[in-house]
């Protein structure tokens, strides 16, 4: 069976991975999820240039997560297992320092690591350009900007590694905090240069230019009072409906107002950005592996939602106020192994990570 490569199939898997990691704080389940994601990360072939930067990005994320553990430990003065006391006069950190807070912080780090590894798998498997194909024409420009934004982090990490290596070749040693100054300056300059180049290239390719009207984006916005009125009414309706959710709840007229507002807004946006018809030389094929990955991922997602609705206590865990051993359901542990699907459904491997 060929390996899954359709963005929609991978999106379904990513939704399952994110949901699995975000719906529980049970450290046993989180460890299982993390290990499964690491296995997928190690076994899926890399297709993008920036995939190598993700390992550094994961390390950076875990580093900040560990800082979060310290923050949790020092600021959450909850729990019965007191490790030591800080004077109560000390602002914010004064009070009891508990083992429960440490465990709570550590589960947060595992959760963060799960999200990062899942993002890394998705990023290394799918090219951003491939994702952009599936954005509706009306939102093409928004999708493009989002894609550039998503690609910014790995590109910055790559630039960081290159500059650091270049400085090391020149004999620079990174020992103290001030030694990182020669690295930050070039990194900032490189980022600005890249941004200018990107803007020029996008301008050269006619971003925001509408072939139908023969005008640029500026001309589209001045497309007449119906469009402006639609934007105003749709935005107001949607805003009032969202705002009203906190006051009136799910009242039928509130939901109707939201739906009408969203409809008007979508219609206006479609009218504003008609998009252009694009033809593809290479078409993305929806293969059997994609079908299997998407189906099982969606089934897993539905099952997870069902557990949340019917048996939320199975996923629930908190170390507060007194540390207890987390529960573990065998069937749930097996269900989390669905995250190994990309590894299971793929057949031949193009090239492995070293």
């Amino acid at each position: 069976m060929s390996q899954p490569q359709h963005p929609l199939a991978w999106l379904a898997w990513l939704a399952l991975a994110f949901s699995a990691a975000l719906t529980t704080r049970n450290p046993l389940y989180l460890m299982l999820i993390l290990l499964a994601l690491v296995v997928v990360y190690q076994t899926t072939p890399t297709r993008t240039q920036t995939s190598g930067a993700w390992s550094s990005f994961i390390r950076l994320g875990i580093f900040f997560g560990v800082i979060g553990v310290g923050f949790d430990t020092l600021t959450a003065h909850i729990g019965d297992t007191v490790l030591f006391w800080l004077p109560a006069d000390w602002p914010i950190i004064g009070g009891r320092i508990t083992l429960e807070a440490v465990i709570h912080g550590l589960t947060g780090v595992i959760q963060l690591a799960c999200l990062l590894v899942a993002g890394a798998v998705f990023s290394q498997t799918l090219d951003a350009a491939l994702l952009l194909r599936f954005v509706p024409p009306a939102f093409y420009h928004s999708g493009l900007v989002l894609t550039i934004g998503l690609a910014f982090i790995p590109q910055t990490v790559l630039a960081f590694q290159e500059i650091r290596d270049a400085q090391r070749i020149r004999g620079h040693q990174f020992r103290a905090a001030r030694d990182w100054l020669p690295l930050v300056g070039p990194l900032l300059t490189t980022g600005l240069e890249r941004a200018v180049q990107l803007a020029e290239s996008m301008e050269a390719r006619g971003l925001g230019y509408s072939a139908a009207s023969g005008q640029g984006a500026r001309g589209n916005i001045q497309a007449g009072w119906p469009t402006q009125l639609g934007l105003l009414l749709g935005g107001l309706g949607l805003s009032f409906a969202l705002f009203g959710l906190g006051y009136w709840g799910r009242a039928w007229w509130n939901l109707a107002l939201g739906l009408v507002g969203a409809g008007i807004l979508l219609w206006t946006l479609r009218r504003l950005m008609p998009g252009s018809q694009r033809t593809r030389y290479r078409r993305v094929v929806w293969g059997r592996a994609d079908q299997l990955l998407a189906t099982l991922s969606l089934l897993g997602l539905l099952g997870l939602m069902g557990i949340l609705l019917t048996r939320p206590l199975d996923l629930f865990y908190t170390p507060y106020p007194r540390l207890t051993w987390p529960s573990f359901e065998v069937w749930l542990g097996v269900a989390y192994l669905l995250l190994l699907l990309p590894m299971l459904v793929q057949g031949s491997k193009q090239h492995d990570r070293v």
Binding site: L35, A36, G246, L313, T318
Partner: protein
């Protein structure tokens, strides 16, 4: 006036002492950091040995000041404790009020106080603090949301918002808490208040007006127990009324696991709205009253339960007071039902005071009390009386069978072996 002035002077003095310590600490940090930076810079510059020596010593002195400053900051404040107790007031949605007085322990937070009360609570714990979802008490009921089965603020998502508002008592008025209950460190004499009801983002339902003395009465009189085996009977006519539950009724239940060693056997005639320690030790053997079920799972012999009293006016039940046992039961026991209209063993004097009467006044009808024998005296230990049911799944013992954990270990080991084998294969 004079006392208030001295109190003000004392507070200013305490504030200055704290500021002094903070200033010393901050100066210490500053000098230490500056000296440390200068020391590093001089070490790079090897040309001047004397400068290195000076900076090295400056660094040491700076860090010494840091340590001294931190030690100063760590010193406890010179506060004179008003009373080595803290109080708790909980007002439920049906206007039933529970008050409690507890021994103060250093570092005690509002969360500790609420948990110590032994009330049934559901609390959502977050890194930024704890959030009370539900509070319940036996015979009164529970208000709030059954976290984690449902959203902690399930009744505050749509108008009107209902939630447990957190207050602290300052003087004789309630101040809406600006910190989480886990972030509030109590001092001796502090009183925390909880009230369920309609509120906004910056204001909520307010507990009844009480003072610290109402909640934690000073020990005034030590009763001399009368050695008698016969259960004393309190001839109070009002207590023999059928326990019809009036929706507008409110009851105050005083809960005190560490009660003062004395109680007031006789209530002076006043028009008090809330009276603490005004209860009589006695049992009214009225058939209209609901007897305690002796097979209650929460009950222990010789214990008493806070109950809700059906009355048209606020009254108080003080479980800190000794009560007598019914003749046919070995001792008063708990009534687990949350909606029980009334319990036996009450010795309550309903008052007809209008709302808003000063809490310092006393009931209109005197209540004669009969001291009982020491054997029949029951004092409430809430930590034993009611199980602390806390939301969060932390029941203390995991229900997972060991085989499940073994399966977890097998899963983890399998994945790890696969990863390691793959790495070796790639290598």
């Amino acid at each position: 006036m004079r006392e208030k002035f001295f109190e003000f002077v004392q507070q200013v003095a305490q504030g200055l002492a704290l500021d002094y310590k903070s200033s010393v600490s901050l100066i210490g940090w500053y000098i230490g950091l500056c000296a440390s930076a200068g020391h590093n810079r001089t070490l790079d510059d090897k040309s001047s040995a004397s400068r290195t020596w000076r900076c090295s010593h400056a660094s040491r002195i700076g860090w010494l000041v840091v340590v001294v400053g931190l030690a100063c900051l760590a010193l406890p404040a010179n506060a004179q404790p008003r009373d080595n107790r803290v109080g708790l007031v909980v007002q439920f949605g049906n206007e039933a009020v529970v008050t409690g007085c507890y021994a103060y322990t250093p570092g005690m937070t509002g969360l500790d106080l609420l948990r110590r009360a032994g009330l049934e609570t559901a609390i959502e714990y977050q890194s930024i603090g704890a959030l009370v979802c539900r509070i319940g008490a036996p015979t009164i009921g529970a208000d709030g949301c059954d976290y984690p089965r449902e959203d902690c603020l399930c009744q505050a998502r749509t108008l009107p918002w209902r939630y447990w508002a957190y207050w602290r008592l300052e003087g004789d008025s309630w101040v809406y808490a600006d910190r989480s209950l886990s972030g509030r460190t109590l001092q001796p004499g502090d009183v925390d208040g909880w009230a369920w009801g309609i509120g906004t983002t910056d204001f909520g339902a307010k507990p009844p007006r009480l003072t610290f003395d109402n909640i934690c009465p000073a020990p005034t009189q030590t009763p001399s127990p009368v050695p008698t085996s016969a259960p004393p009977v309190l001839p109070t006519a009002t207590a023999t009324e059928p326990p019809t539950r009036t929706p507008t009724a409110s009851a105050t239940v005083t809960l005190s696991p560490t009660p003062p060693p004395s109680w007031t056997p006789t209530v002076p005639p006043t028009d008090t709205r809330v009276v603490t320690s005004a209860l009589t030790p006695g049992v009214i053997p009225s058939p209209a009253l609901t007897p305690f079920p002796t097979s209650s799972p929460l009950a222990e012999p010789g214990q008493f339960t806070p109950t809700r009293i059906p009355t048209a006016s606020p009254v108080i039940v003080s479980p800190t007071l000794p009560i007598a046992t019914p003749s046919h039961t070995p001792g008063p026991t708990l009534r687990p039902a949350l909606t029980a209209p009334l319990v036996a063993g009450q010795s309550v004097t309903p008052t007809l005071a209008p709302p808003g009467v000063s809490p310092t006044s006393t009931p209109t009808q005197p209540t004669t009390t009969t001291p009982t024998s020491q054997a029949s005296v029951a004092r409430v230990d809430l930590t034993r009386l009611t199980p602390v049911v806390e939301g969060g799944g932390s029941t203390g013992v995991s229900q997972t069978p060991p085989l499940s954990y073994a399966f977890f270990v097998v899963l983890i080991a399998g994945l790890l072996v696969y990863l390691l084998g793959r790495r070796r294969g790639v290598g």
